[in-house]
């Protein structure tokens, strides 16, 4: 059976879709067969981040409603052969998703030999977000180092523990991972941002990765390339570490300390 991982956060704009694209690509680079599904019906974005927006013919809602087969709707990634995308519908609303429909698509994906199914959740705690997390085995909760994001993530963690299929059937709990994005050690040092330790303490969970704030992330999104594919940037390396940790490897945290400032910089500020 495929392992279902939901990428969620509660709050919008914290980096769910960026993270979904990078984790999916990262797992595919580790030779896993990966399908990534955009659950944000009506505000479809994942196809843009993955750079395949012009190849979307059929979408998730079409599959659920039987307008096409799953195979017709899956878009093969142009860089990685074992990565497939199921795009969201831009023209429908979230009521087009049903529990039975989502369940059927996930089962079919599992039966066709995928190792991982990544569910990119919409923001909020409404139907789309609920269905994205409902069938999950694991959850990556994306959080920014600021209080409102942390509170929303806390709420989502509560829902993961009570409103998912696993929780309702008493079938073990959803494995929770915390991913801290937009982290800026300099601003943490100045006391403007919550630190990794603060977030871990408030949420009572260890982080699976810390992605530094980086202009590369925006540039990669606009170019339609998941940021993890850019081997030069810190953010890409941090995502690669996070994927390795998701696969059970031990890796030291990088990019969480402010770089030491030289004598010159300290004397003249900057």
């Amino acid at each position: 059976m495929a392992e279902i991982i939901v990428v969620t956060s509660g709050k919008g704009g914290v980096g769910k879709t960026t993270t979904s694209a990078s984790i999916a690509s990262g797992l595919a680079r580790r030779d896993k067969r990966v399908a990534v599904i955009d659950f944000d019906i009506g505000l479809r974005n994942l196809d843009l981040i993955m750079g395949c927006e012009r190849r979307v013919v059929y979408d998730f809602v079409n599959v659920i409603q039987g307008d096409c087969t799953l195979k017709q709707a899956l878009i093969k990634d142009k860089r990685l052969d074992n990565l497939h995308l199921l795009a969201a519908s831009q023209t429908r609303d979230k009521d087009a998703l049903t529990e039975e429909g989502v369940s059927r698509v996930l089962d079919e994906l599992g039966a066709s030999g995928f190792d991982y199914i990544i569910c990119d959740s919409p923001a909020g705690i409404e139907k789309g977000a609920h269905l994205a997390m409902y069938f999950a085995d694991q959850a990556v909760v994306v959080v920014n180092p600021e209080v409102s994001s942390v509170r929303d993530s806390d709420r989502i963690l509560g829902l993961l523990a009570s409103k998912t299929k696993r929780a309702k059937q008493g079938n073990g709990k959803v494995t929770e991972h915390l991913l801290l994005t937009r982290y800026n050690p300099l601003r943490v040092a100045k006391g403007e941002m919550l630190s990794v330790d603060d977030v871990q303490e408030i949420l009572g969970l260890d982080v699976v990765g810390v992605i530094p704030e980086s202009p590369e992330v925006l540039a990669a999104s606009n170019a339609g390339v998941p940021v993890i594919m850019n081997n030069e940037s810190d953010a890409a390396l941090a995502y690669q570490d996070a994927v390795d940790r998701l696969l059970g490897e031990e890796k030291p945290m990088r990019f969480t300390e402010a770089p030491k400032r030289g004598m010159f910089a300290r004397m003249f500020g900057g």
Partner: protein
């Protein structure tokens, strides 16, 4: 709690609606909803006493009870009211801003009254048959104000005749924002943290062995000897038997420290433990 059919009316699709409406949807969805309803149990028929008591009780949070749906419970009232007496009670309740939506009590006795005042009998209400001491005239059920996580709101299935159960309710999971944990008739022990935006409540004492960042409410039913204990104090609000204190900023000598909260008369004390 009462079960109530919820009618969700949807307008039928008009002639000009888009042809891509996929499945015709039924004009009415009928389903059972679990709604929290405030229950007023009377031990007097005097509308003046009722009005004074309700106004006094709710003076600290009048907005909270404004237009709140209430069920009028006649199980313990003596003598049993006639229609006029019931109308007087309903009038007193309405004047506090609350809205009576149904009656409860012994079905055979309440039914004729219910027909006379055109209110339903909410017969599925769990009624506590223990006649309470005469000193507590009104025993309103706490009404869940926000969405309640089914998994987190823990209530024993039946009311016990004892005020306190012998064992405390143990909660080992972190209490997340938006969740509520309530220990009815007993103490509550949370062995993990209590996040900001969550609530832990007990009729007895509340013990938190992680950090307490949310709200802690002890002595929910008026036990003034109940206390709150926590390992790491960062609470938003603490309350004992209705006396509460909000912490906009936490005093430096308490922040992050082991703290206990107790009630001395009308004064709430928060002090370090073990100093």
């Amino acid at each position: 709690m009462s079960s109530q059919a919820v009618l969700n009316l949807k307008s039928p699709a008009g002639k000009n609606s888009a042809p891509m409406v996929d499945k015709p949807q039924a004009p009415i969805d009928i389903r059972f909803g679990q709604l929290g309803v405030l229950q007023l149990r009377f031990r007097t028929l005097d509308p003046g006493v009722i009005l004074d008591e309700l106004r006094g009780r709710f003076s600290s949070a009048p907005q909270f009870f404004r237009r709140a749906a209430v069920c009028i419970d006649l199980l313990t009232v003596k003598p049993f009211p006639d229609v006029d007496a019931l109308r007087a009670i309903m009038d007193a309740v309405s004047r506090t801003g609350m809205i009576p939506i149904g009656l409860a009590g012994e079905a055979t006795a309440v039914e004729p009254l219910a027909i006379a005042v055109n209110l339903p009998v909410l017969s599925t209400l769990r009624t506590n048959t223990r006649p309470g001491p005469a000193l507590e005239p009104v025993q309103p059920e706490r009404e869940p104000q926000t969405e309640v996580e089914a998994a987190s709101l823990v209530q024993p299935a039946t009311d016990t005749t004892e005020m306190r159960d012998s064992t405390a309710l143990l909660h080992t999971q972190m209490v997340r924002s938006g969740q509520r944990v309530y220990a009815r008739h007993r103490d509550l022990i949370v062995s993990a943290g209590v996040a900001s935006g969550s609530e832990v409540m007990a009729d007895g004492c509340v013990h938190v062995y992680g950090s307490l960042r949310g709200r802690a409410i002890a002595g929910t039913r008026g036990d003034t000897s109940a206390r709150i204990f926590c390992q790491e104090f960062r609470a938003e609000l603490v309350s004992i038997a209705g006396v509460f204190r909000i912490f906009e900023t936490i005093p430096a000598d308490l922040s992050g420290k082991p703290v206990q909260v107790w009630l001395d008369g009308e004064k709430l004390h928060c002090t370090r433990i073990g100093t």
